[in-house]
Amino acid sequence: MPLLIERIQEGTVIDRIQAFRGIRVLEILKLVLSGGKQEEMKSRIALVINVPSHHMGRKDILKIEGRELQPAEVNKIALIAPQARLNVIRGGKVAKKQDVKLPPKLEDIAICPNPQCISRSERESSVFLNEPSGLRCQYCERLFAPNELLV
């Protein structure tokens, strides 16, 4: 039995999310808000987890109805879903597609892996600057590969 999720007419589809990372993507994009703000959300959201994929073996897909997310918003997920692709849907068709890429600055998404870093004791997460040779923690100034950061 196939699992069917209906097509959306207007909105955003984020495809090629690494399998089981979709929930974290929802959190980073602040689409699931804690503290009773859910009532304010008008859009229907579908998260499909662990879908067979030609490209990736398995993947997650996220569909957000009635809201066009901008690349600048979605690029924040590049850290945990580097292969993700943003599709803007208008009139039932893909109007725009773009692969995500790491933004110049990653704020409040990842924790610094350096246990001596001040951000570990004084902040919930750190701020990383995207430099040619890696991601530099704004506090301890150490350089990390994207997959080293704790998310």
Partner: protein, 302 residues
């Protein structure tokens, strides 16, 4: 008003102006400075330091400021107060904050919390920008230039934060740098790469101690407190000593530098050699830190 947190934040023209300002400060060191009469400098030392703390206090007082010192052992952070709260409180008392902290990035974090300028006096293994400025100033004073000099950095280059910032700054100023470290205590390759890429610096590495050809030899201590086994640390330190025999190969005008405190990496008999320059180097601490404090208070270098 401005902060001094990391050597990475300072461009070459600013560093050059700071060094010129330090020269003026040194000329007028013993005439009274009324520049910041009535201002208060808080020196927050969450980690032990003698030279850095004393020279910052001296520098502030020579600029006419008064001092409120903070000693970690006798304060509320031992009760578990967050750095954020401590900084907010002290920021309400003082006009400028000088801070040494064992955690990396603490100075940048403090600068975000404080309205007043923050000067980094060392944040764990990360940065110690005023030490680097002192080193550059001391080299310039002895050699008249930095560009084209052969500078050798010797010792535990892995743990010494002073060496990392110094390598970066030497690269910026066009020196040719040789890194001599015992196996396992080499400089972080990321810093070498960054310095080469940003400034086109010429950097070589070796595990053998040979002083010939160097204009400046900068030695740092094996940081025993960072080793689990003190005996292993002592053995390593002994193998990288600057002995009088080793100095025979050195150029006659080579200067021997050290951030101090030195333990056994430079034996006391070397102190009287014409190469020994570390005590003069340490004296540069006051004028350079005066220049830095004035820069932070005014937000520009005069």
């Amino acid at each position: 008003m401005t902060d001094v947190i990391s050597i990475r934040d300072l461009d070459k023209p600013t560093i050059e102006k700071l060094l010129e300002s330090a020269e003026k400060m040194e000329k007028n060191l013993f005439t009274s400075h009324e520049m910041f009469r009535g201002k208060v400098a808080a020196t927050l030392f969450f980690e032990a330091s003698t030279r850095t703390h004393l020279s910052f206090q001296t520098a502030a007082q020579r600029l006419g400021m008064s001092i409120v010192p903070y000693y970690h052992n006798a304060s509320s952070s031992t009760k578990g107060e967050s750095l954020r709260d401590t900084i907010r409180i002290v920021d309400g008392y003082a006009d400028i904050l000088v801070m040494r902290h064992p955690q990396e990035g603490a100075a940048r974090y403090a600068a975000e919390q404080a309205q007043h300028p923050v000067v980094n006096a060392g944040d764990g293994g990360n940065q110690h920008p005023t030490q680097t400025l002192i080193d550059l100033y001391a080299i310039l004073k002895a050699k008249g230039k930095i560009k084209g000099l052969n500078v050798q950095l010797v010792g535990d280059l892995k743990h010494a934060r002073a060496m990392r910032s110094l390598l970066y700054a030497l690269g910026m100023f066009g020196a040719t740098v040789k890194l001599a470290a015992p196996v396992g205590l080499e400089m972080d390759p990321a810093i070498i790469k960054e310095t080469e890429e940003k400034f086109g610096a010429k950097i070589t590495q070796t595990a053998d101690l040979d002083l010939s050809g160097s204009d400046v030899v900068y030695v740092c201590r094996i940081q025993k407190e960072r080793f689990a086994d003190p005996y292993a640390a002592s053995k390593l330190a002994a193998s990288f000593r600057i002995s009088p025999e080793l100095l025979k190969n050195a150029k006659s005008d080579m200067i021997l530098m050290h951030p101090l405190p030195k333990i056994d990496e430079i034996p006391p008999e070397v102190d009287n050699s014409p190469h020994a320059y570390y005590f003069q180097q340490a004296r540069c601490g006051v004028p350079v830190r005066m220049a830095v404090l004035a820069y932070c208070m005014k937000g520009k270098v005069d």
